[in-house]
Symmetry: C2
Subunit: 547 residues, 2 copies
């Protein structure tokens, strides 16, 4: 028994050792293989790096319109005569800060013939800090330029007699997606071999189908060549060329070079997400439901009597419209009632901060801005303003404000910016408007209006009221809105202004005095937060002219 | 005496009558002439009308990338083989709301191999109101399209072998201003007479100089012709062609046709104000001055203990940074201290309303968003986040939030939108990122991050937090920011999260209970103000897929 056990154990040992070793070996090998297979099949992704550093890019050729092009050798001797009336309209090399000089100095001259005055902005700063401010502004501006310019702004000229046909505008691809490039073709004279090639930088080129008789090289890369001896086959292949964006950026453009022997072309593919809409529910069909469409927004400071006057007058005509009130008074009182939203701010935080706050809370399609001392009357028909915005592409439409004297103002202003160089741009404001709106004879298109207007909520929130403007400010909002807001003004929707006429025998109330102290204060300590300081630093203006 | 008087008076009468008549006549004529002269010289301006009505414009040819171009008669017989790997990447005709089906149903499957699930958005609405919502959304979307599309989006293809040379990209004119059109030329074969003409729609064409030997017709109008027998003279004249915008619009484009016999070309001139910068004062040079550069913003609701915990922890490291607090608690308590700005809102106004309010008050270059239950530690180095935004073109950079368990999250999400048809677009969200940022090995580029991030104030104010989102919401901000915000995420700047772990033996405090009631509420009454309802109506999505 012991023998057999011994022999068995010896045998097991002998066989077992080898098997054990083998098994262990096999197990080890199997595990390794499994792990390798697992690692291999594990969804790995090689993350490439992306360079998003702020560096200077290629200079954009933008100054062509400022001077006449140099003649080349062929045209140097061709005589021409300058047409002053047109040449004078072209932009100068940098703007100059000057108003209109001279003019009559009669009593009502400024009233009848308002002269243009020019105001340099750098005066907001002490001489000692101006140099530093200039440097800082230039540095911030450089960063801004690098973030806002794209290859889609670059000047491209199509060469003449190019056998290449290609798209010059309208191509867009969403980030990291693929599109077919439309409109590509070659119309060359008969040749033995036709070759075209493509070069891109933010993505790769490929073909969605392979056409017989065409050799494709570099598909899936940033440089692709197509060759064929048959022109019609090459052209059929060109209808299947694709572009895939591979270097992520939410809003940029790739410039693609397209070449054939002796000729080249350049075109741009915009790389960006589509514009996602921000739509508002307008309430049930039928007549304009003002409560569903409009929120009234205002800011108040130390004059609850005026504010209550506004609210009471609104409620006479619109009992359920939401009124949003931003309040930075010193000892805030409760303002309550149905559809009233009262927001308390730190004392004296400021005018535009309050405007920005009020507007940030609106959930309806439109917002009506009013000052806290307005009074609604039977002439304050909000339906008319809603009608204008519902039926036109305008973003904001102003009304008219009627003083106690009967004088009614629309305060229409046109605004334009003349580019300058390192000193900054020149801002030009003039009373007036651009055109009358077809179909709305009481309404015009302009750039700035009085502080009584209806606006699309998404647009006004996008532009915003800069909270750095603590006290007196108005047109700064419209300056910030230039290019974004399409502005109109109608003179047949009128709101009354609670009187501001100071009668000499009526003493100012305490709250009036405090109000006046804040409303018309001495200069702030932070120069860049004053109106001119902000125009200088934030918007990069050197000069403001107005009449 | 009486005689002399009588004779005198008779004489006066005789002479006087004629003179009187003459004088009166002269006086009348003189007045008329004066009035006419005055009226004539009075600065009158013929205001033209402008049509800004919302009407359907030319359909934008955008669907080329969705299907293969039809072969014309020449290429119909050329065989080709579809390359599935590429053809499959092209956009389909409308997106389909589907997730990933099948997959393992093991316990940790969703954790290890997260499956993509698809959620239709229309379910936010009762069946009875869905049809009405669809119609209303379509109408609002149509208005949005009319306001946002411009001729600069239109597909233009340059024809081959065109003797015309012309600019295809990069031309801009400020509204109502004039530019020289660069790059124009003709390179035609020898002819007796060379003629080119231009046609524009939003402005007029002219020449800034007149070249000998060239006849100009229609200068100052919307159709201008240049004729010459000498090609080099015509080309010299083409260097002086100008465009003047006359129909005001703050942001549009004019498509100009350029033709010669047998050939034509089209190019676009953008009509828009330049982009006015919004720069911020960064404080004195040297190291990053966090108080001058950053404002901390947060929203609080019914948990002043957590809020005080946040404030105390911030002050350990940044004693003078401004903290802006939006508070919609039921019985607001005073929160005060140096550099603290406390804003009181109507009770329960909402999460995104509060975020929008806080951010609307920031006056520094950057804003740091924190939740009111975060705790700053020695790892919460804001200088690192500022460094990223100062040195790259990113607009927002997220950090990491560390739970009590030690688990640290960056919550990186990539977001893309697949265009759909009338049903709406499809929104795709996936965990992950796009690239690692060169030079910042702990940072990546992505589309959405956790609620701890530093952002450029002007960009975050421009995107905004939609106040219609009252309760649970997070990625909606990043969805609204798609295309505007360039987003990054760094995992080496960490803030702690005050514990949310509900220990079973610790009973919830009253304030915790109220907080929970509002934080995780039942569905709101206005369906378009729920998360899905808003995605459906406001952003026009039909579907959301995510993993």
């Amino acid at each position: 028994m012991a023998d057999r056990r011994r022999l068995l154990s010896e045998w097991i040992q002998a066989v077992g050792m080898r098997s054990l070793r083998k098994t262990v070996l096999l197990a080890i090998v199997a595990s390794v293989v499994l792990v390798v297979a697992l690692l291999h099949s594990w969804p790995t992704r090689a993350y490439t790096t992306v360079d998003v550093w702020q560096r200077p890019g290629p200079a954009v050729e933008r100054h062509l319109e400022e001077r006449f092009p140099e003649p080349d050798h062929r045209s140097a001797n061709i005589p021409y005569r300058v047409k002053e009336s047109i040449a004078g309209l072209l932009a100068r090399n940098g703007c100059v800060c000057e108003g209109e000089s001279g003019g009559m100095n009669l009593p009502f001259a400024q009233l009848l013939f308002p002269r243009v005055s020019a105001h340099p902005m750098h005066t907001a700063f002490e001489a000692s800090e101006l140099e530093e401010m200039k440097k800082r502004r230039a540095k911030e501006y450089q960063g801004f330029q690098m973030r806002s310019q794209t290859p889609a702004d670059m000047l491209i000229v199509a060469e003449a007699n190019n056998p290449l046909q290609y798209p010059t505008q309208g191509m867009e691809v969403r980030p990291l997606k693929t599109i077919l490039i439309p409109g590509l073709a070659v119309q060359d004279h008969p040749k033995e071999l036709y070759t075209v090639n493509f070069t891109s930088t933010l993505g790769t080129l490929n073909v969605a189908a392979e056409v017989e008789g065409v050799k494709v090289k570099g598909d899936g890369e940033m440089h692709m060549t197509l060759t064929s001896s048959l022109l019609s086959n090459l052209n059929r292949q060109l209808q299947f060329v694709t572009y895939t964006n591979t270097l992520f950026h939410p809003s940029t453009a790739d410039t693609v070079q397209f070449e054939t022997e002796g000729h080249q072309a350049m075109f741009t593919i915009k790389v960006r997400h589509g514009v996602t809409p921000k739509l508002y529910n307008t309430g049930p069909k039928g007549e304009y439901n003002i409560s569903a469409l409009v929120t009234i927004a205002t800011k108040t400071f130390m004059r609850y009597d005026k504010l209550q006057g506004l609210i009471d007058s609104v409620r006479k005509y619109y009992s359920t419209v939401t009124i949003v009130i931003a309040d930075d008074s010193e000892n805030p009182k409760t303002v309550s009632g149905p559809y009233i939203e009262h927001y308390i701010m730190p004392f004296g935080k400021g005018w535009f901060a309050g405007r920005n706050l009020a507007v940030s809370q609106v959930t309806t399609k439109y917002v009506l801005w009013v000052d806290d001392d307005f009074i609604f009357t039977a002439n304050t028909k909000l339906e008319k303003l809603v009608d204008v915005l519902e039926r036109t592409t305008l973003d904001l439409v102003g009304g008219a404000v009627r003083e106690a004297t009967g004088y009614t103002a629309t305060y229409r202003q046109t605004i334009s910016i003349e580019p300058g160089e390192e000193e900054g741009d020149c801002l030009h404001m003039r009373r007036g408007f651009h055109h009358i709106i077809q179909g709305f004879p009481n309404c015009v298109v302009t750039d700035g209006v009085i502080n009584f207007f209806l606006a699309r909520t998404d647009k006004i929130q996008q532009v915003g009221f800069d909270p750095r403007l603590a006290r007196v400010a108005h047109l700064e909002f419209f300056i910030d809105g230039l290019g974004s807001l399409h502005v109109g003004s109608c003179d047949d929707v009128i709101v009354n202004h609670a009187t501001k006429i100071k009668l000499p025998w009526v003493s100012q109330s305490e709250s009036d005095k405090t109000y006046a102290k804040f409303r018309y204060p001495p200069a702030s300590s932070d120069a860049t937060h004053t109106k001119n300081g902000l125009l200088y630093f934030k918007n990069r203006f050197q000069c403001l002219t107005h009449n």
